[in-house]
Structures are given as C-alpha cells and as structure tokens.
C-alpha cells in the first residue's frame, strides 16, 4: 500500500461519503451545544470537494489537500471552514510535492494540520473542540512512525483510533471555545461535533488505504 495521489483522492471521496452518512448525527450533536449546522456544512463542503475532484485529478497528495483546503474554506461557511481549510492547507504544505507519503511524513502532516487548527482557532486540548481529536491523533501517529517504521497502514490506524478516543473524551468536558462555550457547564455531557467529524476524516484515511 502506498499513500499517493490515488490514495488521497480515495480518502477525500470517503470523507465526502462519511459526511453524507453522518450528516444527521453531526447536526444532532451540534444542535445540543452549537448552532446545528455542522453536519450540513461539512456535507456541503465535502460534496464540493467531490465535484472539484471530478473536474481535475490532482497529481500529488499535497495538491489534492490544497484543493480541499481552498474548497472547504469557500463552501463550508461556519467556523469549520477556515479550521479544516487551514488544517488541509498546512498538511499540504508539509507534504510538499512528494508523490508518496511515508509514516513519518503522515505524522508530520497531521502535526502541521493540528498546529494550523490551534493557530486559527486558539483552542487548547481540553477546550472541547476538534483539537481534542487531533492532538491524540498526532501523538499516536508520531509514536507509530517512530524509529523509521514503514507500516503506513499502522500509522493511519493509530491516528484514527486516537482521534475516535479523543472525540469520546470530549463528552464530559466543559466547552471553553466556540459557540458551545456560551453554554458553560451545560455543554458537559455532549460530544463535540468538530471532534467527531475530525475522527471521521482520519478514519476515512484508513479506509482509503485498506
């Protein structure tokens, strides 16, 4: 299995599928603590990515992610647009023109994406945001890639599982960033929709490589 441009296209296609399938779930999660548009916005954004992929085929994973960044920032509308847009843009920059992604490069791209989200949204771990999915994913990918591992699927799986656990970990948290923070203590007991969509995106990366 190599993580090349074909994999990237498949990944983004699976992201679009996942957002369509989980649209209602994300809407419900966001209705509890936000403005209930996250499912709608993510679905629309990735459908637009899908349409772009239909127009032209990116030559490198980096090019695919840069196109995704631009599209999400233009089509999503809510805060998730610039946050995911920045994540994909920074990951694209980290990958550069490489034709293939190795485990270390994937870990580095995830770290760049997470750093972009933090820089843009100013959230920290524990604030009940998508950062709570991305940060454990970065740590897990780094650990799995450590020592020059060549198991790309292993790194993808490690990141996805950590992001899923990270999303679950937001349940008891009290939101300190985003619309949910207006609810204060009442935000506890609900899963953060951004953390859930982040986990869906990283799980789709596994599916594309399987």
């Amino acid at each position: 299995m190599v993580l090349d441009a074909n994999w990237a296209v498949k990944w983004l296609t699976l992201c679009a599928q996942a957002m369509a399938e989980h649209r209602v779930e994300l809407i419900e999660l966001d209705r509890a603590i936000g403005d209930s548009d996250h499912g709608e916005n993510m679905d629309r954004g990735f459908q637009a990515v899908l349409a772009k992929l239909g127009e032209s085929t990116p030559e490198t994973p980096g090019a695919a992610l840069k196109m995704t960044a631009m599209t999400l920032m233009s089509k999503v509308g809510g805060a998730a647009g610039p946050l995911y847009g920045t994540a994909f843009l920074r990951a694209a920059t980290a990958l550069g023109d490489s034709a293939e992604i190795d485990p270390a490069a994937w870990a580095a791209a995830l770290a760049a994406a997470r750093d972009g989200i933090v820089a843009r949204g100013k959230a920290e771990p524990g604030d009940k945001t998508m950062v709570d999915a991305w940060t454990p994913a970065v740590d897990a990918a780094r650990a799995a890639a450590d020592g020059g591992s060549t198991d790309v699927l292993g790194v993808l799986v490690a990141a996805a599982e950590a992001a899923e656990a990270g999303a679950v970990s937001t349940d008891p948290m009290v939101a300190r960033k985003g619309r949910a923070s207006y609810l204060g203590e009442r935000s506890a007991g609900h899963r953060d929709p951004g953390a859930v969509s982040s986990a869906l995106i990283l799980r789709a990366a596994v599916g594309a490589a399987a």
């Binding site: 631009m70 233009s74 809510g78 610039p82 847009g85 920045t86 843009r120």
Partner: protein, 244 residues
Amino acid sequence: MTVSIVVVSHSEKIAEGAVELAAQMAPDVVILPAGGTDDGRIGTSLEKVLAAIEQASGQASGQAPGRAAGAGAEGTVVLTDLGSAVMTAESALEFLESPAGVLLADAPLVEGLVAAAVAAQGGADVEAVRKAAEGARGGAGQPEPAGSELEPGSVSSAAPDFTADFELVNQAGMHARPAAKVAGGLASLDAEVTINGVDGASMTGLMTLGAGKGTVLHVEAWGKDAERAVEYVGGLVEAGFGEP
C-alpha cells in the same frame, strides 16, 4: 491614492450596509463588502474574501483618479465581524500572493469601519487606518482618556514636551472628517498626544469631545515628534480643516 478597505461579515446584508454607511463619509475610498457565503447563506467565504481583497488592493494601487500618486498611502485594511470571519480573513492572508500591505483590524465592525474609512479618506497610511479602526474599540461613549496615565512611569505622568491651545474656526467643528485627519496624522508620528484629555490618535475619542466652532483645543504632546505633533494639529485647526 487612498488605503482601501474590505468588510468581512457573516451576512451579505451587514457587509453591504456597513459599506454603504461608511462610503457616505468617505466617498473616495474603495470599500468592498465580502459578506455571506457563495450561495448567499449566513457564513463567510474564502473566495469572496480573497476576491474582495485582491480587487481592493488592485484598485487602490492602480487607478486613483484625482489623487496624487506616490504618497505611500496604499494598502488594504480588512475588518471582520464574528469569530469565523476573523479566521476566514486570516486564512485569506495565508493564500494571498502578496499579503504585504494587507492588515487585519481587530475592531468593532461598524464603528471601526467608519473610523477607518474616514482616516483613509483623510489620506492616512495603512497602519494609521488600522489604528483608527482599532481606536474605535469600546464605543464612542468611552473615549480613551490616555489609559497609560494610570501606569506609573508612563510619559503622560510627566510634564508635556510641547503644548499649545488652538481655537476651532470651521463651522462644523471637530466632526468625523477633521477628527480622522487629526487622528490619522498623529498616529503616524512618534508622539503621545492628548487633546482636551483624550487620545489625539483616536478618532472616536476626538469626536466624543463634541467640540464645536469656538472651542479651544488644549494640545499636550510627549515624545520625539511632540513639537511636530502640536504643529500638525495647529496647522489643521487654524486652516479650518480646509472647510468653511
């Protein structure tokens, strides 16, 4: 050549309405709205914001009918409303080919926009236009009474380096445009200036003085450019700001 302004809002109507309001006070300034999503929903769009910034900065540095070129007064100031508009504007800067000269202002949208527009109309440079916008923070009801006076050791607690009194001679007194001229000019000088106790570099501060014709402005200035600052204010006031 004036600094141009881009207004980023979640709502197309808010952006357009704010532009309409500001344009009334700054007819020669290019002010472009970038509100709502591509398909007219509530939200912000990177493409819209990028297009507006590119158009605004292109217009500002290109055609500038009726204005002296080469004054160095070019650039674009971007104002935003709620959180994700800020994020979209920041992202736009990341995408721009040449982000130099494009500045984000952390300011209340309407008050900041009006202050920025009038400062740009008065020929202030891009830094001064941003400063004018950010000086509008806190609303017109709260002038910035040289907050630094409260800090021990600040220059304002010392005697001013230069001081002078000038009487307003123009009919309309210290209204928006004169206030912007004064604030815009002072913002670019290395001096701390108070006028009747308010920050001379704050357009909204000056407007809250409600100083009409015949009011005497007491100008106090500290710093390297203190003398120039006092002369600058005096020159404008005595010329009636070029108004009747």
